[in-house]
Structure formats: C-alpha cells, structure tokens
Amino acid sequence: MTDTIQLAHGSGGLENQQLIHDLFFTAFDNPVLAAGEDAALIEGGRLAVSTDSFTVSPLFFPGGDIGTLAVAGTLNDVAMRGARPQHITVAFIIEEGVKMNMLIRIINSMREELAVSGAQVIAGDTKVVPRGVIDQLMINTTGFGTIVSDCNTRRIAAGDHLIISGDIARHGACIFAAREEIAIKGLTSDCCTLWPAIAPLLEAGLDVHAMRDATRGGISAVFNEWAQQTGLNFNLHEDNIPVSSEVRGFAEILGIDPYILACEGVFVMAVAAQDSAAVINLLHRHGHPRAALVGAVETTQGTATVLLHSAYGTKRRLEYPSGEILPRIC
C-alpha cells in the first residue's frame, strides 16, 4: 500500500479494489461482507442493504444533480441484488455558507427520484462543517429492499449471455466535460432509478443470474470484477456495445476509453442464454430501448480475462481501470 491516499483509491478501479480488500475486508471480515456484492443480504437473506456516499463536482449537471444521484445510486445497488427498494436513510454534510435555495432544489430532486421506486426516507442526519472543510455538500444514503430473486455473482455460469441495458458512459463523460468546461451539445447524465426496468424481469420469472450498475470504473470494472470473482472469461463484441454519438465524440477528443467511464442509469446483466431475448425485449419496453446482447461467458484454461472482439477478427483485453482518468497530451 502507498503511504498516502491518492485520488485513484476512490476511482472504482484497481487501487480502489485493493484498498477495499487489503484494509476494509481484512479489518471487518465476516461472511456477509466477504460476498463482495453491491448490496448485502441480512435477515435470513430477505433484506438487501447498500450504502453509498455522494460527492460530485459540479453539484448540478445536465440530467440531474447530487440529490438525484444519492437516491438513484443507492437504490440501484439494492435493485441490482434483485430486491425491491423500499427504505432509505439520508445523511447530509453541509459546508457553512451553502445557499438554502440550493439545498431545497436538491431535496426536491431527491423527492422526485424517490417517487420513481416508491421508496421512503426513514431516518436522516445533518452536519454542518466550517467553510472550507468540504466543498459545499456531501450526501450519504443507505438503502434497504426486500429480495424478489437473489441475483449475485456466484450464479454466473459459462454459457450465460451478457446484456447491457443502454448506451454507456454518459454520466462520466458529462461530469468530466462539465469539469473541463467542454461543451458537448446533447451530452447528459444517464442518472436514473433502475427498479422500474428490473421489476418486470423478476416478476416474469426470467432467469437473471447477476446484475451490476456500471458506476465508477464503468463496464470495464464490472466485467473485470466478475471475471476475477468467477474465474470465467467474458467475451464481448465491441460493435454491439451501445455508445451514443455524444459520448463517442467526447471520448475521441480526450482520448478516454468510454468503457471505464461511469454510468448512473445503465446496468450489466448475466442471464441464462435461453432467456436473453425475452430480457432484452422487456428492457426495450420499459424505458431502455438501447439494451443489447453484448457477449457471453465461457470457461477458461488460463487466467480469467475480459476480451473485446472486433468485427474484423481481432481481439484485445479490456483492462481493469487503474489510476486517475486523465486526458491524453496530444
């Protein structure tokens, strides 16, 4: 481990994962935590719990704000476990001097986003810190939901089909562009609550094995984590991965791989092959028209890897994201 915490330790990539495993998993070791899923199961496997802290600059961005994120992000983690989001706690840490109007705007966004899943805020906390201690506002939320069908990484099997629910990297590209003050017309965050898309799949009894929302580290982090945890190969067909022209343009200009950029309203699924067409069909009908079959899981003799296949017959590794995301020099 390094002597100091670097930004890379929080970026959802390799350093982040190492910190979690080497420090937190070791210190707090127990079977529930060790499962390493987006949401933990307690109460005999009936209740899914997930917690997340939100710090984003700028607080308001095209397509949402920190309030939208704090609700959708945590409830999505609960939903990814196959649980219906029902309750959420909210803790605010606010910098002295923040405008009341701004806080009200964020609270209203949270209320609107809660209405999408019907989840309720059941507890909260407020702390105000002196000017300069933090940058405006941070929010921590913890979500709870009841299990409908336990989806988890251990259920992923060779032969599973891999589905991505929509065009990727919009949130990451949007925030990066806002920070760099690069105006790209039509580039908005994909931030949204995913439960309305997931409920129909679970209610239809489709054989969904695992789901992950592709937040920090993007789809690259999800597939690489799955490869490491399952010991299986993940083969992806590059041409099938949905990317909007706005994100494509942004990524090309800055030399950043869209696969490592965060999504906040797009998730990745491993499903039984015979059900993949039905899953995609339902996603299309429930607000995710770009959902697509992107690849399949297979066994491996060597080290489990994520491979991207081109339409012209070449292949390459999709590497676990690492380090801070930096634009190229030229």
Partner: protein, 372 residues
C-alpha cells in the same frame, strides 16, 4: 456529433479494414525480406494495439514502436525539477494530464506530490493557465510544458497571451521535443528500422516537409498516418508498395489534415518564442543536439529554469538497471522482451516511463495484450 459518427464509420469500416488487410497480404508476398516498420508516435502504438491491427498483418511485416511519447522520453531530472518547483512557496504547478503520473528519481510522481500537499493541477488546454494566474495574483503559476511539435504552438500561444495580458506571475518550464531529430538518431544508429509511419498530429503542425531530408539521406520510406485503423493500414500498404518499387520518399496518408507545409501560423508562433535547446537529454536515448526547444533568452523572465535555477537539477545520465525502456524507445526491443514486463513493472508500480505514460509502448502492451 453526427459528423464524428460519419467520419468514424469511414475510418473504422469493417469492410475497408478487411480489404486493406487482404491487399497488404497480397502485396507483402512480393517483399524480398521481412519489413520492419516503426510507428514513431505513441498514439499510433496505442491505436495499433487497441484495434489489434498487428494481428491483421502477415509475418513478413513487423511493427516496431518508437520514441514518440513525450512523457516517456523525459529524463528523471526534469520530472524532479517539476516536483521541486511544485514545492516552492506560493506556487501552483500546472501541467498536462499524463505528466502527473510519472515518478522522478525518488520514485515520487506529481500526483503523489499533490497528495502530499503541493498545489499541482492538470489542464487539458494550456490556456487555462491564464485564468489560474489571474485568479491567484499572489501566487507563482509554473506551467510545465511538455510534448512534441503538436503541443508547442499551444505553449507559444499561452506565452503570447501571458505577455499581452502582462501576467507577471506565470512562468514556463519547457520540455518540448522534436520528432525528426529523434528519427534521425534511430536511423543513424542503424539496423532497427526499414521504414517509418510518421506522426499525424505532429505533422499537422510541422508539415510533411519536415521528413524530406530523412527519406532522402537514409533511403527510408516515411508515410504520415492518422490514428484510425483504415489510416494505419493504408500507411502500411503504402510503405510496402514503396519498398516493392524500390522507392523511398515522404508520402502523406493523412491528407485530410496534413499539408506539406504544415500550419504556418503555428510555426511562426513557435519561432517567435522558442529556440533550439543545444543539450537536451532524452531518457534512454541520450543527448540529441537541437532536439528540443527552450524559451528564447529574451523571455528569460518567464523561464522557470532561469528564474528558479536552484529547483532545476543538472542533467544526469540514468542507470537503466534491468529496465529496457531505452532499447524499446530506440526500436531495439519490444516491451515483452523486458524481464520486468508485468512482473515487477506494472502501471501501478512502474520501473520505466514506457509503462507509466498513457502513450508508452509498455503501457499499451500491458493494457491490451498481457497474458495473465
């Protein structure tokens, strides 16, 4: 962004890629001996590995990776200088993104220097320094300028505006290097390369003309290429055809952006503010006369090396240890030849700069090709 989609569909067309690959296979069968083509630019190296273009070439055509990665060729004493400058009192150190990752001689990078408390920032456009300098009148802003011919005009423009706005708190630490001089060093050393794919963005600025003397003097084909699969395969095919015809000339396969004379305005800006640096040390390659640019002496009051000499250590030749970066930058070894590759040298714990820089050949192999 629809225009971007249309352009990308053309230059990444599966049919076109397959057609070029087929044609290369047919024409390469006429080669009398194996052909070693060096792509000079790190951006090309990454594109080749990202798209797997080397997998489409016959065995007789081998791509060799060159020194065109500005961070890779920067010697440690210049990174040490940037770190020392960042620790000066009342200082904001600004540079381009890729630069903050590379460790100096003490194994510390600008990224770690920032985490330890120094004010280190990266910008996408050097002109962002103007706002930083205006917003922080009580601080010294030191811009660590880096890059080949592509980024030098931006530094020159920043200096021009710094002068016109009379921002007396903005200084420059210049690390701008030149491509043809590095190519000539490789050719003069001999033996590694039969032809060059010349950089695209560099040539947009400097023009196709800057390789003319190399093609003639060393009888070596030079084809300028863009960064897309179709561009690069087109460049390889043109090289094969030159070799088969016994020709060695400069050819422009990136004519949608590159002109023979280049960007005249950019060249004028550079000439106004910069002069050749007589004694620039390249990492792993050594000293190459006239291969870098420094601020003209009339702008000494802007030059961090003149204003803060105590922070800028003298050039020192580095001992490479087991790291093969020097040979890799010269085209004499491939990343996977290095005993440290992926085993003791990774992007998280780099031993050489070819692994740490985004544009480095080792980083590209690690990212796209690592076996385990």
């Amino acid at each position: 962004m629809k225009a971007a989609d249309t352009l990308l569909q053309m230059v990444r067309s599966t049919d076109a890629i397959r057609a070029f690959a087929k044609r290369i296979e047919i024409d390469a069968a006429q080669l009398k001996k194996p052909l070693r083509v060096m792509e000079v630019c790190g951006g090309h190296t990454h594109a080749i590995l990202q798209y797997g273009l080397d997998q489409l070439l016959p065995q007789s055509v081998k791509l060799i990776h060159g020194p065109g990665c500005p961070v890779c060729v920067l010697p440690q004493h210049r990174i040490d200088a940037a770190i020392n400058l960042a620790w000066r009192p009342n200082t904001i150190l600004v540079t381009l993104g890729d630069m903050i990752r590379v460790p100096g001689s003490q194994g510390i990078s600008l990224q770690q220097t920032r985490a330890a408390g120094a004010d280190v920032r990266y910008v996408y456009s050097p002109l962002d320094c103007l706002a930083i300098a205006a917003d922080n009148p009580d601080k010294n802003i030191i811009y660590v300028a880096i890059g080949f011919e592509t980024t030098t005009p931006m530094t020159a423009l920043l200096l021009e505006q710094t002068q016109s706005k009379q921002l007396n708190n903005l200084f420059f630490h210049c690390n701008h290097v030149l491509v043809p001089q590095a190519m000539e060093r490789i050719l003069a050393a001999g033996g590694a390369v039969d032809a060059f794919i010349a950089p695209g963005h560099v040539s947009v600025m400097a023009g196709a003309k800057q390789y003319q003397h190399l093609a003639e003097k060393y009888r070596t084909p030079v084809v300028i290429s863009g960064f897309e699969p179709v561009d690069l395969l087109d460049a390889v095919l043109r090289i094969i055809n030159q070799v088969n015809s016994g020709v060695a000339e400069v050819d422009n396969a990136y004519s949608r952006f590159v002109k023979t004379a280049g960007n005249h305005k950019a060249q004028q800006l550079v000439a106004t503010y910069f002069e050749p640096h007589d004694d620039f040390l390249w990492r792993g390659i050594g000293r190459i006369p006239g291969s870098a640019l420094k601020l003209r002496s009339t702008f000494g009051d802007r030059d961090a090396e003149v204003q803060f000499p105590e922070s800028c250590p003298a050039p020192t030749e580095e001992k490479p240890g087991n790291c093969l970066c020097g040979l890799i930058l010269m085209g004499l070894a491939q990343p996977t030849d290095c005993p440290l590759f992926a085993d003791g040298c990774t992007p998280q714990n780099p031993q050489g700069s070819c692994m740490v820089s985004n544009e480095g050949a080792c980083a590209a192999y690690y990212k796209y090709r690592r076996e385990s």
